[in-house]
Structure formats: C-alpha cells, structure tokens
Amino acid sequence: MSGQAAIVHDMSLESYGFGGDHPFNPLRIRMTLELCEALGLLEGYPFVASEPATVDDLTTVHSLTYVRVVQKAGRGGGDLWDLMHYGLGGGDNPIFPDMHEACARVVGAVLEACRLVARGEATHAMCISGGLHHALRSRASGFCVYNDAGVAIARLKEEHPGIRVAYVDTDAHHGDGVQWMFYDDPEVLTVSMHESGRYLFPGTGGGEERGRNGGVGYSVNVPLEPFTDDSSWISCFEDLVPEVLRAFEPDLIISQNGCDGHALDPLTHLSATTRLYEHVPKRVHDLAHELCEGRWVATGGGGYDIWRVVPRAWTALWAAVSHQELPEKVSEDWLALRGAQSPVKLPHLMRDDPADYAPAARAPEIANRNRRTTEQVLEKVLPLIH
C-alpha cells in the first residue's frame, strides 16, 4: 500500500447516527461510497478495517468521567441532569443505543488512517465518518460525541514525539473542539475557515482567537460572512492557508472536509458549490506534497443536504485523495439506485452549474469584508508561527 491512497471504512462506522429525522444521517456515508463505487473510483482500493478506539485512546483528550457517562447513556442509563450537563439527550445529541461503541469506532478509524500515513504505509488516507470537530473534553456538542481528530493528533504526538500536525478545517462551523484541545500547543496548528459565529453555532472562531501561552499564533480562524460564495472563499483560502502552512512546516496534515457551506445546506448561510469542494482537497493535496512528503489524512464533517451535496462533494474528496479524475457525470446506476428515494431531484452532473447559483447582490461587499478579515488574521498570526 506504500505510496498509495487508503480508504478506511467498514459498515460498522455507519452505526454512528442519531436516528429518525435527525439531520446527522449516516446514509450520507453509504450514498457517497456507493457513488464512488458506481463511478469506478474504488477499484483497487479495498476498504481498510480498523479497531475501535480504546478508553485509553479517548482519554487522551476527553475526561474519563465523560467517557463513563457516554458508555452508561448508550446502555440506557444515567441521570437526566447528569446527561444534560455532558451535552447528551435533547435536541442535538440524542442518546442512541451503544453510542459509545459507535463513536469509538469512528475515532478508531481516523486514528488508523493517521497511523497508516504516519508510518508511511499510505501516502494519503481518507475516513469520511470522521470530522466530529465539536466534541469537547467533557461534553457532546453539535452532533459530535468524541473528537476523532483530537484523539488522533494526541496519539500521533505520543507515538512520534516532536511531530508537527496541521489541522485544516473548512466545515461551515468553527472547528472549536479541536482548537480548544490544542489551544496552547505550538506543535499543532489549527486552521478553521467557517461562517462567522455572529449568528451561527458554535459562536466562536473569531479572528482574535489565536491560541494561548506557548500556542499563541497556532490557532488560526477566518470567520467568513454569511452568503460567502466560491470565489471569495477560494481567494481567502489561497491568501491564507498556503502561507500559514509553509510557515509552520507540518509533518502531517489532517483536513476536516465538512461540506455544509454549500448553498443548498439547510443548517448554514454560506453559498458555496461543488467548485469549492473540488478545489480545497486538491490544494491540500498539493500542499501535503510540497511540505510533508504527501502525508495527508482527510476526514468528513458536516453536510446536511445528504442527497444533492454530500455524495458529490466527498466523491470529489476521494478523487483528490486517490489521484483520480473526477468524472463529469453522476453515475446512471447510482441515480437509478437512489433517485426514487430522494425527496429532491438529484443532479446529473458531478459539478454544479454556476448558472444555477447566481451571485448575490451583496457579493462584492461580502468579498471585501472577507478579504479584510483574512488580511488582518494573516498579518497577526504569520509573525508568530515558527
């Protein structure tokens, strides 16, 4: 497998979901992989299996008390007040049977992807079940119970002392959990570009959040205006991400590839299209080759238009990870398989037609504000990164 791309997955990862009408639906993982397969993009890439993360793995970044509460909740136990205190139950993170095991599997899969890449057994690896970036040390938050990237980074640091990990998060929501876990750590650079927290969950991720103590400068946040489109987002990404990564000189890059900034996404107010979700992984891939011999682990993340957006966006992600051309058309077989179930008409092309996404009247103003934000952030953090 050396020099190759690996995809870490097995069916058991699809048991992480909250059931019913909950927007975080593992069907999106299934449909993405079906689309990749129908397009022939999985030929020669058998799924790599993984072990669930252990309690010891999880407590690298979570408190043992919290892990015990999650275990108990998944078996139907726990006091209501206690559960609420830990963010469990209620709207966003309802309790489901064996939730500890389901989430520990996701964490284990991302950990395996990182180990494959760190040991040189694969150059790039993808695990689209990962990307649970809101999970906090002792609290479930925003559909995330355990923090896969957090655990993986903590373990990489133990297993490869001195390793420098860059975490690049382009989910529409701020990557708060991962940021807080490494907020004072100069060996972990977290970069998050997201819709401004003025209105949107979780509310953090302002440009002035830059890290703490020895880690000042190693947390980078670019809050984008609501209704930011591809061209503004891409130009901010290009102005900032290559510069900060070059200054940091990572040994490995982990990307969180949430695709909920798409114009069709019901949870956010951004206006991106598949153009962004094709561009970002390609550029992260280039930067991984430029800076760290290709070592790159890609995870999923948010994405709540599970029919029209997620399968195409993450198929583009896999195409970048595995150095394959992204086909022009959505597979007819896949459309036949899923079209009838879909509550919305499924697109027939892998790339959105720009004509369907007219620029907003305020687009120039939005782009100007984003450019200023990016310049200000870059000016503040760049001198601090060594």
Binding site: G90, D92, F201, G203
Partner: protein
C-alpha cells in the same frame, strides 16, 4: 449574579500619596494595571491613572522628564474626589457611573475599607458571560409585541423542541415591523443547538419576527 462583587478584582495594587510618579509608573508596567487607588492610613484618599502620571510630567523627549517623574509625588497628581462603588451594587449601576463620568474604573469600598476595584474590562467580561458567548450555541434575535406572555411564548417554543437556553436578554422597546401595531421589543436567545431551523420556522408561524443574517 451580576453584582459588582462578582466581577471586581479583589487583590488591588495600591499606592501611598508619597510614592513618586516614576515608581508608580513602574508599578503600572510590572503589574499590568492602569488605575491605582491611593491609600493613606488604610483610607482611600485618591485615585491615579498611568495617563495622569505621564501627562503631569514634561513631554516624552524632554530632557527634564526623568528628573520630574522622580520628584513628582502621587499626591500632587491624584484625583481626590473619588467615585466609588459598593460590593452589592448591580453591575449596570457601576457601568452607568463609569459611562456618565467618562472614567475607566471604580474602587469598591465597604465600611470605609477598600475591598476591590472594578474596571470597564470587568464590565465587558460580565457582558460576555451574560450573553453566554463563551458557550457553544446559535444566536437568534427574536422581535415580538411588547405584551405579557410573548417572551414566555417564544421561550416555550424552544422548550417544546427540547432546546436548552444558554442565555436570554430582552432589549428596549422599538418600532413595530411594517403592518404591525407597536410597541415591540427584541430578545436575544442563545440556544444550545447547531440546528435552529425548525425553531425559527415555528416562531415565524406563531407571529414572531426572527432577525437572522441579513439577506444576500
């Protein structure tokens, strides 16, 4: 909650009237403070800021400046007419006092003894806490007729959906939206969910006006 004593700094750096301006400025630098109460026999007799001290001496670059700062005593510069707060004052009262008098801090005095100091930064910190801005959540501005029960109605909708409130703040009266009878009032809800879409839909159906990001 939200009393001066909840937000004030209890370990206050103080000066004596005999301290020189040079020494006082060194204290400001080392302790990273800008406002220093002046005590004489345990009693508060004045207050001085780093700016007062600097502007009392000849300008920077003047050859006489260093000598002047070494001679100048705090008692010559401090303001003697000190406005103070009490520990049990509501923080908004202290904020209003600072705003009206255009000052950056208030010493906190109880039974003639200095027990703390509250600055405009402490008030900002209290605002952040009040708004719940340090806890994950979505921020909704909800406008409603200024009538009994409307705020409870909005809060009840979140409750029905199982969404916890991180913070709730209700603002002053305002003009009603076009076509409505006034007055209205806006409330800011910080709610513990990544997915406020359903709550917004139900609020709007129930006649509330939800201010959300400006239209594209």
């Amino acid at each position: 909650m939200l009393l001066v004593k909840d937000s004030m700094t209890r370990e206050v750096v103080v000066l004596s009237p005999e301290t020189t301006a040079a020494e006082a400025l060194a204290v400001c630098r080392e302790r990273r403070v800008r406002h220093l109460p002046v005590l004489e026999a345990e009693r508060l007799v004045g207050i001085v800021s780093d700016r007062d001290l600097r502007s009392a001496a000849p300008a920077l670059g003047d050859p006489g400046r260093v000598e002047a700062l070494g001679k100048l005593r705090v008692s010559e510069v401090m303001s003697r007419d000190v406005v103070s707060a009490r520990p049990d004052d509501p923080i908004e009262e202290a904020a209003n006092e600072m705003r009206e008098r255009r000052i950056g801090c208030l010493p906190v005095v109880e039974n003639d003894a200095l027990v703390g100091i509250i600055t405009s930064s402490d008030v900002m910190e209290a605002l952040v806490q009040l708004m719940g801005a340090h806890e994950p959540g979505s921020r909704l501005v909800v406008s409603m007729p200024d009538r009994p029960g409307t705020l409870a109605g909005a809060a009840g909708i979140f409750g029905e959906l199982g969404i916890n409130l991180v913070s709730t703040v209700s603002g002053p009266k305002q003009e009603p939206p076009p076509g409505e009878q006034g007055p209205w009032r806006a409330a800011i809800f910080r709610i513990d969910t990544i997915n406020p879409a359903e709550a917004i839909e139900i609020l709007e159906q129930a006649g509330y006006s939800v201010l959300w990001p400006p239209k594209p």
